[in-house]
Amino acid sequence: MDTTANSDADSRPPASRSWQRFRRSPSAWIGGGIVAVFVVIAWLAPWITPYSIRQTSSADRIAEPPSREHLLGTDQLGKDVLTRVMYGSRLSLLAGVISISLAIALGTPIGAVAGYFGGRVDSLLMRGIDVALAFPSVLIALLVAASLGASWWAVVIAVGLINVPVFARQVRATVLTVAQLDHVLASRAFGATWWHIVWRQILPSLTSPLTVLASLSLGTAILEVAGLSFLGLGGDLTVAEWGAMLTIAKTYWSSNVWLALGPGLAISLSVLGFNLLGDALRDALDPRSDASLL
């Protein structure tokens, strides 16, 4: 065969080729780096923040601009903003991960069932998804917050629900394609149950599109969580959460713009990180991008 005539890259298994593409992409390095930094900060927050999260308020340092002691200044209670932003990455990452997991957990079965069975089931489920997509996400969030009461969990659940349609559609599209592949048709011909086919043959092929989508959505989810808690749906404004910190910063806008800097930067950077990482993952995992490399 003419495989020997081809480049090394093509002789390796697809996973390895993807990894190579991923490694070569600058956005993978930058995005991955930013995400890694946030994960490390969130993980090690209690040990690496300049001050303790339980720092007592100090009336002598209210809303100070950045200084050597307080790199991002102090907040309305005289607490170090950098410390609170670092702790905020815990809540924000956690909120992103939980809400996206929720979206996957709800969206995957809906998409899989719709894609596999097709026909009426498909139309019914997909029209439902279309209707859900037609609602502005803030409205859904408000409904959730109204029924659960304003809290961090309400925001996380709301963001999860907002993202369900996105995942359901992606899963359905993939299932539609995979269900027509030869090995699946063969299993079906051998009399495999639908459960076996979906569970053992279709779901594994969802891993890469879902990874890409999840990583892209994580950025959006963090932004949405911050946005909703900025609107006051997070309930408690005293917690170290980026959106809540921005809400308070808004009150001090006329006297101290610095307060918004820390949480604002953190949100932008984390969203940028996840988006770059997601882009790089998509480029690496998408078989079609092979063509562009050749």
């Binding site: 339980r54 009336a59 309305q76 304003a150 408690d236 005293t238 009150t251 806008w253 006329s254």
Partner: protein, 541 residues
């Protein structure tokens, strides 16, 4: 006629106002003060943090509504423009019988309501009976938070058109002060009958400004009442707009789109005071910000627990953190600027380690586990007595964490917040009170007496003390000032013993306005009366 015709300039003004509103909405920041100075000189726009919920004087106690009511309605008696001395208003003169049980008020002749109805003794009778009677055909919402303040009135007689006789159940030292309060506003009986339930959205009084229109959450327009007994106000229109965000109020004030704003943060006010086009007024306030502890909810029913909470809070720190120094730590619910104030009693000291020990001991004794989880209900909007609720709630959460109380924050918009507290659904609640009259009864009885425990009562701690109740009733009946003082001293000492509340601070009243605005001064009672307000000639700084 339901809607009085607009004055000739009003059309122009409304167009200008709409333009100003649009330009803010679009964020293009057009200057509102630039064009049409002659038209804008006759309109005063007052920005408040919230829109009133109702304009029925008997059914509100929210400052935003009161600010409207005091300009649309008059009362029988009122306060002097600058002091808390009681002066005639709709009643020209009054006298009381030897035994203090019969009060005769002579009404000012020639006063008419905005709808043309003449002011008669019958109108006064209807207005006051809406407060005193359990059931009244012209009461459309029975909440009436101030009802108990008028319980001393037994019967209202109207011997002739211009004479009102109040028969009291017992002599009362607070009758005049309470008649000067906004719930006792005299309402047009014709309008009440005609409008029914709708009268809560369309107030008709005898005040300096007559109600024109109200688009909820947008603007509430009132216009000068030409036939007002003190003469026509100097401005043509007084418009109330709700502007929830502090930052937006500040921006719009500095652009000249609004002329008067309150409930700003101390830091903002300090920076506004430096601007040449703006002025900031500061005056002693008769108010208190306090932490209400729902004494019906265990373990807050235990004195030791309330005492521990009291000892964990450093009021001096609060003055700096929440008020930038423009306040003083409170020991009593009664403000020091008010007659009847006492601090001749012991209050628990600020001592977190001792508080922690006390709470641990209480936990063992009463069998609850630590950390003690408590909900702190707070309001989203700034209040005159709580200009920075977020800073205060942040501090309280942290201060209580030190002694083993884990506080979760339960935030609501201000109207819902107070409904929540009045119904007693909270555990800890951030609250405050602005004097409606200059009498300590207005603080002690209104906020702590068992008469005011109900779905809409202001005893937010649901404090029940027989002795306190006795003292309150005695104080209301006692006509000798020195003896009354003794009663209120004892009552304040009793509160410091039972600790149903933590009085936090007394704030200075502050308001910012454009410098051109004159004839407006902060009143010690917090009333905002704009009858004399006007704009300086163009050209003045």
């Amino acid at each position: 006629m339901l809607v009085p015709p607009l004055p000739p300039q009003a059309g122009v003004v409304l167009v200008l106002l709409a333009g100003a509103l649009l330009s803010t909405g679009g964020g293009c920041g057009g200057s509102g003060s630039g064009g049409g100075s002659s038209a804008s000189d006759s309109v005063l726009i007052y920005a408040q943090p919230e829109d009133p919920k109702t304009l029925d004087p008997i059914n509100t106690d929210i400052a935003e509504a009161v600010h409207v009511l005091t300009n649309v309605f008059d009362t029988l008696v009122t306060y002097d423009d600058e002091t808390t001395e009681i002066v005639p208003a709709l009643a020209e003169s009054w006298e009381h019988s030897e035994d203090g049980l019969t009060w005769t008020f002579r009404l000012r002749p020639g006063v008419t309501f905005h709808d043309g109805t003449p002011l008669t003794s019958e109108a006064v009778k209807v207005s006051l009976e809406r407060l005193t009677q359990e059931k009244h055909p012209l009461v459309f919402d029975t909440a009436r938070p101030y009802r108990s303040a008028y319980a001393m009135i037994d019967q209202i007689e109207t011997p002739d058109e211009s004479t009102v006789v109040l028969k009291l159940k017992a002599p009362s030292a607070i009758l005049l002060a309470n008649l000067a309060m906004f719930p006792a506003s005299i309402v047009s009986p014709t309008a009440l009958t005609k409008l029914g339930e709708k009268s809560a959205e369309h107030p008709v009084g005898t005040g300096a400004f007559k109600f024109v229109e109200w688009s909820r959450d947008e603007k509430l327009v009132t216009a000068a009442f030409d036939e007002h007994w003190r003469g026509r106000p100097k401005i043509d229109q007084l418009i109330f707009v709700p502007v929830r965000e502090n930052a937006t109020r500040v921006q719009r004030l500095s652009r000249g789109e609004i002329h008067l704003a309150d409930s700003l943060t101390p830091v903002e006010l300090d920076s506004l005071a430096k601007r040449s086009e703006l002025a900031v007024q500061e005056a002693v306030g008769m108010n208190v910000a306090y932490l209400a502890m729902q004494t019906e909810k265990p373990p807050l029913d235990k004195l030791d627990v309330r005492r521990a909470i009291y000892m964990a809070i450093d009021k001096r720190a609060l003055v700096k953190l929440g008020y930038a120094g423009h306040a003083q730590p409170a020991v009593s619910m009664v403000p020091p600027a008010m007659w009847g104030y006492s601090d001749a009693f012991e209050v628990p000291p600020y001592d977190p380690p001792a508080a922690k020990a006390l709470l641990e001991q209480a936990a063992r004794q009463h069998g609850f586990s630590l950390p003690l989880k408590l909900r702190l209900s707070v309001m989203n909007q700034a209040r005159p007595y709580l200009p920075q609720p977020q800073a205060i709630q942040g501090y309280l959460k942290e201060a209580l964490a030190q002694i083993g109380v884990e506080v979760s924050i339960d935030a609501r918009d201000v109207n819902q917040h107070f409904e929540h507290l009045m119904a007693g659904r909270h555990e800890l609640g951030l609250a405050g009170w602005f004097s409606d009259n200059s009498d300590p009864d207005n603080f002690l009885y209104s906020l702590l007496d068992s008469d005011n425990i109900s779905e809409a009562g202001n005893n937010l701690s649901r404090y029940r003390s027989e002795r306190f109740h006795e003292l309150m009733l005695a104080g209301q009946k006692e006509l000798d000032t020195a003896k009354r003082l003794e009663l209120y001293r004892e009552a304040q000492a009793l509160v410091a013993q039972d600790l149903p509340v933590v009085p936090l601070v007394h704030t200075s009243q502050r308001a910012a306005h454009v410098k051109r605005l004159q004839g407006f001064t902060l009143h010690p009672t917090g009333l905002v009366r704009l009858h004399q307000a006007h704009f300086a000639e163009a050209g003045a700084p």
